[in-house]
């Protein structure tokens, strides 16, 4: 009988995370003053034990027993062979995925949420604040805080808060307090509401509110938590790839291709970093982070760079110091930092260890629906980006007649995102490719704007 899924027993779960910072060189991140960020600057925001992890270059870091106890609720996640999808695509490729939707909040985000809640608790923290877009991260952190007896306050961008009421309910069941942002709880929120009472919020405002609440607690017992981008988040996610390695080993398989969707990069980091280590050591693997073509950060130069639009604190800059030149070509410039993307992932792109790909919205939904029909699980819309590229690779394998082994991370289920599927079915999600003519017009319009000053952290 063909193997469908490979499991690990509790005592086979990896006991250490892999820290890729021991194997690649990075310049230190720069702060708002242009100088390298110090541990002292981070201390009001994060507990010192996590700051130490953030800055650590130790290759293997022990997973505390208390963290493993909670992870064991759903870990190890199964490694599943997508036999249904393989058949549907008539591909010689063997496709395997790690199912991260098995976590209680429904995505990989719980892996770091549990670790972060634990380290905060260890440091004597009583309350965590965070921001969330559509609620995935807020749900994961609420779940984790419940396990360690921490209070959890989540600022959720108002436009999503109103669209996704079940996210607030989920957080509430775990004891998390979910507040639509902008709110009147913080100075940052009040300032926005005063000026724009109808504001639907933004991630920038929500971050400001969450950070403000954390650092202005004079008892020092509140900290802020971030669900992606930071090094320690990437570290906590490596359990995904480390488990996958053991599971593949059990059946004598090794991946030729690794695929993960990447927003801030943590899911991708989780599935891929342990294999990037193998690649550094000479293995021949193609490793692809995948993002939506619609709003790319890895595969195309951005028009504008992160403005740090913190609750309107960013001044409107005078004309002469701004502007852009349209850069339609993909970014290859060494060291250009991508907004909102993990600096480590950006660095791996620069070093040529991984190759970013972009997929369009409609292909993503189509792939997601095909996978739901053939594998049964309804994917989170983010996962669909990975699935679109998995489908493309599997078709390529068929055309080339190659028996490739593809491994990807199914980062979450989509059961609380069904509204997105409705919009797809109603034909409300559209995709158009720009014509050359159109691109030329953009360049014309932007021609007279001086080139932006690009501040690089990583060279």
């Amino acid at each position: 009988m063909e193997v469908k899924k490979i499991l690990l027993s509790d005592d086979e779960i990896p006991r250490q995370w892999y820290n890729i910072l021991s194997d690649i060189k990075m310049n230190p991140p720069l702060g708002p003053d242009g100088k390298p960020i110090s541990a002292e600057q981070l201390a009001p925001v994060f507990p010192m034990n996590l700051i130490e992890q953030e800055l650590s270059d130790k290759r293997w870091i022990d997973i505390p027993d208390e963290v493993l106890e909670v992870l064991k609720i759903w870990r190890a996640t199964p490694l599943i062979r997508a036999t249904g999808l393989e058949k549907a695509l008539d591909t010689p490729a063997r496709i395997y995925y790690k199912y991260e939707g098995a976590s209680p909040p429904g995505s990989h985000k719980a892996n770091t949420a549990v670790a972060q809640a634990y380290y905060n608790k260890e440091f004597g923290i009583k309350k965590l604040t965070t921001e969330t877009g559509a609620g995935q991260w807020g749900s994961a952190l609420s779940f984790a805080c419940a396990h360690f007896g921490l209070e959890c306050k989540v600022y959720m961008v108002k436009v999503s808060f109103e669209q996704k009421p079940y996210r607030k309910s989920m957080m509430g069941v775990w004891g998390g307090k979910c507040i639509p942002s902008p709110s009147s709880y913080t100075k940052a929120g009040r300032e926005v509401l005063e000026k724009f009472p109808d504001s639907q919020g933004s991630l920038g405002i929500a971050i400001s509110e969450a950070v403000e609440e954390a650092v202005s607690d004079t008892t020092g017992k509140t900290r802020y938590s971030l669900g992606s981008v930071l090094n320690h988040v990437m570290l906590h996610q490596t359990i995904i790839g480390l488990e996958a390695k053991k599971q593949m080993d059990k059946i004598g398989e090794y991946p030729d291709v690794i695929i993960g969707c990447a927003g801030g990069g943590s899911n991708f980091a989780g599935i891929s970093f342990p294999f990037v280590l193998d690649k550094i050591n000479g293995k021949d693997i193609d490793i692809y982070p995948v993002e939506p073509l619609a709003c790319p950060t890895m595969t195309r130069a951005e028009f504008s760079y992160d403005h740090g639009d913190i609750a309107g604190y960013t001044p409107l800059l005078p004309m002469h110091s701004l502007g852009h030149t349209f850069m339609p070509a993909p970014i290859h410039a060494g060291g250009l930092r991508y907004h909102g993307m993990s600096p480590i992932v950006s660095q791996l792109i620069v070093e040529g260890l991984i190759t970013p790909k972009a997929v369009n919205q409609l292909d993503s939904y189509e792939a997601g629906i095909l996978c739901a029909k053939t594998e049964g699980i309804i994917p989170a819309p983010e996962t669909n980006n990975a699935l679109a590229y998995v489908v493309a690779e599997a078709r390529k394998a068929r055309e080339e007649g190659k028996e490739k082994v593809i491994l990807f991370s199914w980062s979450g289920h989509g059961l609380i995102d069904l509204g997105s599927y409705d919009k797809y079915f109603e034909g409300k999600i559209i995709d158009c490719k720009p014509e050359d003519e159109e691109l030329k017009r953009y360049s014309e319009i932007l021609k007279n704007y001086p080139k932006p000053e690009i501040i690089k952290d990583y060279r």
Partner: protein, 83 residues
């Protein structure tokens, strides 16, 4: 340009579908999101649209371009409020 109210896209920053109307006002000072060009250039002539609907100063502000990382944004918010 197509009717803005019917344009929907999944915002990768938020993780949900939003309409173009939201992108038009969710940046600092109720101006368009700083990524509005990246996200909508595939769908319609967003540069022309912004030129037509914003003042010169506003357009410049949306296009302005200091590249701060997320961690730097967090530190800035922290330093503003640390007591």
């Amino acid at each position: 340009m197509p009717n803005a109210s019917i344009l929907i896209k999944r915002c990768p920053m938020l993780g949900g579908e939003i309409s173009f109307k939201y992108c038009e006002t969710c940046g600092g000072n109720n101006l368009p999101c700083r990524k509005v060009m990246d996200c909508w250039q595939e769908t319609f002539d967003i540069a022309r649209y912004l030129k037509d609907t914003l003042t010169k100063e506003e357009f410049a502000a949306v296009m302005s371009s200091k590249n701060y990382s997320k961690i730097s944004t967090i530190i800035a918010a922290s330093e503003k409020n640390f007591k």
